[in-house]
Subunit: 273 residues, 2 copies
């Protein structure tokens, strides 16, 4: 069987850790794929650990003992967070994004994997030390972000539907009042998609009045879930009083001036402290 | 400014390439982040190239000249493909997935990032040598997969909606006939989400009669798009004649026996040759 050089194993380890952050890999697993002794792997991990710290990628935590292993916990520097938020503001504020009705077209950004990946890295870093079982979102625009957060935080995603589908099995449905339009809406979640008593992080693209987030909160109570936090990409400045508290947003949308084709949006300074 | 050892740079390069497959990074970019000469980076890349090939992760292609760079093109071995398809069959065939109406509950699997990631790797490998501009899917269950494929193939995703939304701006809508239920359905795609004359890969979770896929084809014609291929995770064995041809599926669903609680599903052998 093939043997690999240390520099090759270290490179391969970085690939494996990067592909699956927050997942504990056993030394036995590495020993097998690299055809190397566990003591050798252990030395490799020390090098990886040092490089991850020096390059500010986060940290490698090791679990000692017979079932020993290692896990990569990514993080993001304040400087990188600032760069990402500034880039996002430039993208979201492009005047030609204004569409009839005074809305901003954002779908392309929320469906672009490399942009969503950056947003997910910023959000995940805020919750990296929390114990989590699920990411919860409501269809449709927040799904890519929820999946990317789920990948980084290594938890599955539960997607609340606007309609009841036959392929979802038994569902729990609730009615809620949209915070901004004051209309009654329905959301449904398959009973199978979330175990009771789970710890969840709610992720969504946009928050105006907070009605949808409040609806998700209410839904979570039906599942006896504990909401660890709520993260949205953009919140509107007005109304300042949302229907939920204890949420974080990345960007704050101040105003959309249809006449002069100007969008005022800025990074949430709370994330940059 | 900090200097890094070769083994650290090689580890960091593997992280950067893994995070963004199919993206061309310039040597200048690496030289800057590692504070190293371009000739040094060039030597690092040779080591990375060798390790990627030896460990069968795919290949590193280098672009020479003043604007020289390198790109990681991932691949997946036949053996790994087989392992993934077998694992998927076991997961999809669990008897307790059968829900009233003779459907299989699959949502949890399509919303699990690590499972979706594996599926996306198998699908992407089939189209890695094709020039692509977009992944196209229709809401809701295929979105996570489309995003993961988009990440691997480094292209954005366009999501066709079942309903028209005010936040999508001008849309193109078409009616289509569901292949299995023979009902007329509508789908809409924002004009902004797909440039005309694009090359697209259609991705979806499930195909029975092929009506939805046919609908997406028709929609693509409205955008003058060229459909490079269609990939679905599961196709049903019956009907054998689908409304579209030129598609690949990962798994073939033979039968669901509600009485005896048995699901017959198998890997598509075409992918294992």
């Amino acid at each position: 069987m093939k043997k690999y050089k240390r520099i090759q194993r270290v490179g391969a380890l970085m690939k494996i850790f990067t592909e699956r952050p927050n997942h504990v890999f056993s030394y036995n697993y590495f020993a097998e794929i690299f055809n190397a002794a566990k003591s050798t792997i252990s030395e490799d991990i020390v090098i990886v650990k040092e490089l991850v710290e020096e390059l500010q990628y986060g940290k490698i935590e090791t679990i000692t003992g017979a079932s020993g292993g290692a896990v990569f916990i990514p993080s993001i520097s304040l400087e990188d967070t600032k760069t990402i938020l500034d880039e996002l503001c430039v993208m979201f504020a492009k005047p030609d994004r204004i569409i009839p009705g005074g809305f901003i077209y954002m779908t392309d950004l929320f469906n672009n994997p490399s942009i969503v990946d950056k947003i997910a890295n910023v959000i995940s870093a805020q919750f990296i030390n929390q114990e989590l079982d699920y990411i919860v979102t409501v269809e449709t625009k927040g799904i890519p972000l929820a999946i990317m957060c789920g990948k980084i935080l290594n938890v599955p995603v539960a997607v609340i539907r606007r309609n009841n589908k036959v392929t979802e099995g038994a569902t729990v449905s609730i009615n809620y009042i949209s915070g901004s339009s004051k209309t009654i809406q329905t959301m449904s979640l398959s009973k199978r998609s979330l175990s009771e008593n789970s710890k969840v992080l709610i992720v969504d693209d946009f928050m105006k009045g907070g009605g949808t987030a409040k609806g998700i909160y209410d839904m979570m109570q039906e599942f006896k879930a504990e909401v660890i936090g709520t993260a949205v990409v953009i919140e509107t400045k007005e109304p300042t009083e949302k229907l939920v508290d204890n949420y974080i947003s990345l960007l704050i949308l101040d105003s959309i001036d249809q006449q002069n084709k100007a969008i005022k949006i800025s990074p949430n300074v709370k994330l940059l402290q």
